[in-house]
Subunit: 162 residues, 4 copies
């Protein structure tokens, strides 16, 4: 069972620029995280963009949808900023014919000591193998269907809408 991981950026992949003191994107850490997790699932990692999800445009979402449609795999994980993850999940709903698509992200950059990223990646890689076709968000150890999820901005926790 082969999985495609589409990287779009988000907190997951933010790094600290020690010259400017600002957070920025360089390369994805997904491969390094999979190595640390001793992951042996056949995985193809593809970086689509490296952006903050608050800056994600309709065109960016179209790119993500298109790449999911074209992917040879039926199991796709998308790393994504948490702020608009639910929005992208909704955009993907129509494209999920026969595919299991799981979006995940992190509240704290992986490059920082106390990141939830590795837990979330383990979770997403597992849900994508075991859930039926559909579009899901995997955060906080839980899974949500695309039409029943939102991020509570105050607490940073994902929850069901209904």
């Amino acid at each position: 069972m082969s999985i495609r991981i589409l990287v779009t950026g988000g907190t997951f992949d933010k790094e600290y620029d020690e010259r400017t003191g600002r957070l920025f994107f360089k390369d994805t850490h997904i491969q390094e995280m999979l190595r640390l997790g001793r992951c042996r699932v056949p995985v193809t990692v593809e970086t689509l963009m490296m952006i903050d999800s608050l800056e994600m445009t309709a065109a960016d979402r179209e790119t993500i949808v298109t790449r999911c449609r074209e992917a040879p795999e039926n199991r796709i994980v998308i790393t994504h900023g948490t702020d608009t993850m639910a929005e992208t999940a909704a955009a993907l709903a129509a494209a999920a014919t026969g595919r299991t698509i799981v979006l995940t992200g992190a509240m704290v950059p992986w490059a920082f000591g106390s990141s939830d990223g590795l837990f979330n990646l383990g979770s997403a890689v597992s849900f994508v193998q075991s859930l039926p076709a559909g579009v899901y968000v995997a955060m906080n150890g839980r899974w949500f269907t695309w039409d029943n999820v939102r991020k509570d901005r105050a607490s940073g926790v994902f929850e069901s809408v209904r």
Copy 2:
């Protein structure tokens, strides 16, 4: 969906004793790891034993089986040393009537920088919610049924028997 996590020790929870230079068990790190993963699944953590799985006896396995039978939850994660994880999974097979039981562990202690533990915990917590009733091993980002798994000692990787 409530989960019970039964702790039995294993590499997961080993620590470094700086006076003797040896590895030893103190308390489980599961709660700390769930906090780091921002896990919001209702979880009850119960420590059954804190031992190396090479030292696990038939009586210890009986204890694990009994606790699974008695647990009010239908979804159970067991943290376990990797060396005899498959053996305990087999012992649990008869007890899994109607329950989903997932065993997981780590190749490197969580207390060390480069542990696979957080990835595996995220994976186990996710598989236990999404797989049908049965006994499974979750390692290397994959899941295995209890009757089709072994650890390859040379590589430290879990694989299907058949």
Copy 3:
């Protein structure tokens, strides 16, 4: 030989706010770092301010100078943002009568995995015990006198002026 550590903030103590995605100050990590370093030098930690050194005013510097003059200890370490560390060192020069004062900081926040903070703190605590009275900057494993140091902004490295 007792040491006073005056905390002023700087990258050293920056943390990641997972709700806003921005860096901010909360509490100092100095006590935690000294514990990790198993430091057994008698130390008193005093937080004067928690600010980015680019925002440090003349009044802030006056506060630092005054606290150094009033300190009962002859050995003082000051944690400080790197951008204006040399400026504060110069302001302290007149106050260093009979005292050894060492300023240090970090290029990467301590809360992040790859920080130079612990190395720098070990360095500053050591230089302050072994250098004669004067005002110094301890960065990059080296020490500089207050009148012969600058930070090269492009590389983030401290160097002699002459």
Copy 4:
């Protein structure tokens, strides 16, 4: 001011072997630690041996003394297991003509998350630049002369004999 770092092993450089579950030596982490500390002192790192200091023989100590005598640098840091660090310091006393030699180590392996190693390395690199000729032990943020130091086995703390 150029420094030579002689590596002899010790807890500093121990790693976790995930196949056997035992601690072992592979390569030294000193270069990686200096990079993390953004150290800019000219340093030459030389690995003499990779052993637990409890297994250090008289011949091993002779090797260390000889390398110190032959080193072109007047400033030498030696990384060393903590258990017999004081013994090696004593053996070096006669060889320290005109040189500053600082021994340091770690209570917890660098490869583990909670190591004191980076703090100690920052400390040793600083003391070696600022102390007069002689043989010293740098641990716990303090320095000790070779003839006035011992490790308290119960607490793991270095202290003066007198």
